[in-house]
């Protein structure tokens, strides 16, 4: 049941972790060295850690709000489309058309509609997440095998039992995989939104501001934090996913 992502945690051994940490540190130092030597404006950051921690909290709060709204809305819509064929046929064309709009193309539109404030940022993150979840939920519903559906009809299962033995085990893998992709999309969206949508607290804004005032060490440190948090949240979700899937696919 492993979905072989290159170097995914499914084959992480302690040696791999060591490697990961070592190579991250080396890479960080190299990048920081190069950028510092290029800009040569490095002033030792005062309160750097505190600044980054505060920004991280802001970003996480925004990300979670967007994930919550986006996952809820996207799953509901995708489930409805998967379950009701007429909805599928009506809504699929516009949704696929909208998907052709590159994600960040929404930022100027949202900016025109609602300004660049906090609600716009969360809306944008939610939109990025919902994009993914609609498709995943749709896929999940359609991955319920018609053959097994017939078996549960033949056995005359009541709705609750049917939910337990047929629906939930069938849709869980696709839904969880969708949530993981949505999480990655959410990270892109939240960092991008913080960079593009005016000054606001958050990691993206911090990094961007540091670049403009010539503080490369903050740029590098902030980017590393984004990368590490992204990797950690993905790995966490993945191990949760595997624990859940293990229940169904021992």
């Amino acid at each position: 049941m492993s979905v072989g992502v290159v170097g995914g945690p499914h084959h992480f051994k302690w040696r791999s972790y060591l490697w990961l940490v070592a190579s991250t540190i080396v890479l960080t130092i190299v990048i920081a060295e190069i950028s510092v030597s290029q800009v040569s404006l490095a002033v030792p950051g005062r309160g750097l850690i505190g600044e980054i921690a505060a920004a991280t909290l802001d970003t996480l709060r925004r990300l979670l709000a967007g994930l919550f709204v986006g996952i809820t809305a996207g799953s509901l819509l995708g489930t409805a489309m998967g379950a009701v064929p007429i909805l599928d046929r009506l809504l699929s064309p516009p949704i696929h058309a909208l998907r052709q709009v590159p994600l960040f193309g929404w930022i100027p539109l949202i900016g025109l509609w609602a300004g660049l404030g906090e609600p716009s940022k969360v809306t944008f993150v939610a939109l990025a997440v919902a994009y993914v979840m609609v498709l995943s939920a749709h896929e999940a519903i359609r991955s319920i095998s018609p053959r097994l559906t017939e078996v549960s009809r033949a056995l005359g299962l009541d709705p609750l039992t049917k939910l337990r033995v047929l629906v939930i085990p069938s849709v869980t893998p696709a839904l969880l995989a969708g949530v993981r992709i949505a999480l990655a999309a959410g990270w892109s969206a939240v960092v991008g939104a913080e960079i593009l949508m005016a000054a606001a607290p958050g990691l993206g804004a911090l990094i961007w501001g540091a670049r403009e005032v010539g503080r490369p060490e903050i740029v590098v440190a902030g980017s590393v934090v984004v990368g590490v948090l992204g990797a950690l949240s993905n790995a966490g979700l993945r191990s949760f996913e595997q624990r859940v899937l293990h229940r169904y696919y021992r």
Binding site: V6, G8, G105, G227
Partner: protein, 261 residues
């Protein structure tokens, strides 16, 4: 004992087309109606014909073409370099478990970093010109292409390889008739994800630093409150992305030998 029932079939097909078109047409009519009756302020939604007019004017004076070509060039350059590296690296980690063990975790951490988060670092290293945009697009393409290629090669069903061995196929035939068709769908899957990521990052980069390009047009439209301009740029971006995606699909069908055979 089968009976053709063509009229029924045609009706069914027509019904399908109708439901397919129903919602876009409805949306367009709704859009037109809302703006015509001025039910929403013009700053929020401009009438469709105004977008059309803007697009025509910009096409006439070459502005749109210039922007589209600039964006297209960046995407193509980034996509070509990212895809080439991705296919090469993906193949390497697929055939060498050892390399996968050592480079895998690093790649994994690298892949977790949202492509847009590379932008500030890339600017520090490469400056704010073309190189940085191409590089960030390339990075965005590289990750999914690597994953797609590795999965494609790892996923070649053992029984196909066994059949190829049993038939003692020469290398060329083995590649053309077994390896390529077996791996191409997933590789192209990775390429398509990469392409859409590439467009996404392009728009992102152009929104904050470019003097020309579709994303730049969107940004101008936003700061000058010209929604028609924003929508024109968005539509062209979507259209170009869609066309390139279709070409990749074509390529897959061609390469798998379905079109040729």
């Amino acid at each position: 004992m089968t009976t053709k029932s063509q009229p029924l079939d045609a009706v069914a097909r027509l019904g399908q087309v109708a439901t397919w078109l129903a919602s876009p047409v409805l949306l367009l009519v709704l859009w037109w109606w809302l703006t015509e009756r001025e039910l929403v302020p013009i700053q929020i939604l401009v009438p469709p014909h105004e977008v059309f007019e803007t697009a025509r004017a910009m096409l006439a004076d070459g502005e749109l073409e210039e922007a589209a070509l600039a964006s297209l060039f960046r995407v193509l350059a980034g996509f070509a370099s990212g895809a080439a590296c991705g296919v090469a690296f993906g193949t390497l980690v697929a055939v060498s478990p050892r390399l996968d063990r050592y480079a895998g975790p690093l790649f994994y951490a690298f892949a977790q970093m949202p492509a847009v988060a590379w932008a500030p670092i890339a600017i520090l290293l490469l400056g704010i010109g073309e190189e940085f945009k191409v590089a960030v697009i390339g990075l965005a393409v590289f990750v999914p292409v690597t994953i797609g290629t590795q999965e494609a090669i790892r996923g070649i069903p053992q029984r196909y390889l066994e059949v190829a061995a049993a038939l003692a196929l020469p290398a060329g035939l083995r590649f053309r008739r077994v390896l390529l068709p077996a791996t191409l769908p997933r590789i192209v899957g990775g390429l398509r994800i990469g392409l859409s990521k590439g467009w996404m990052v392009l728009v992102f980069a152009e929104l904050f630093c470019a003097n020309v390009g579709l994303g730049h047009l969107m940004d101008v439209g936003r700061t000058q409150f010209q929604m028609d301009l924003v929508l024109t740029a968005v539509l062209v971006t979507g259209g170009l992305g869609f066309a390139m995606d279709r070409m990749l699909l074509r390529f897959e069908r061609f390469g798998s030998g379905r079109a040729a055979a």
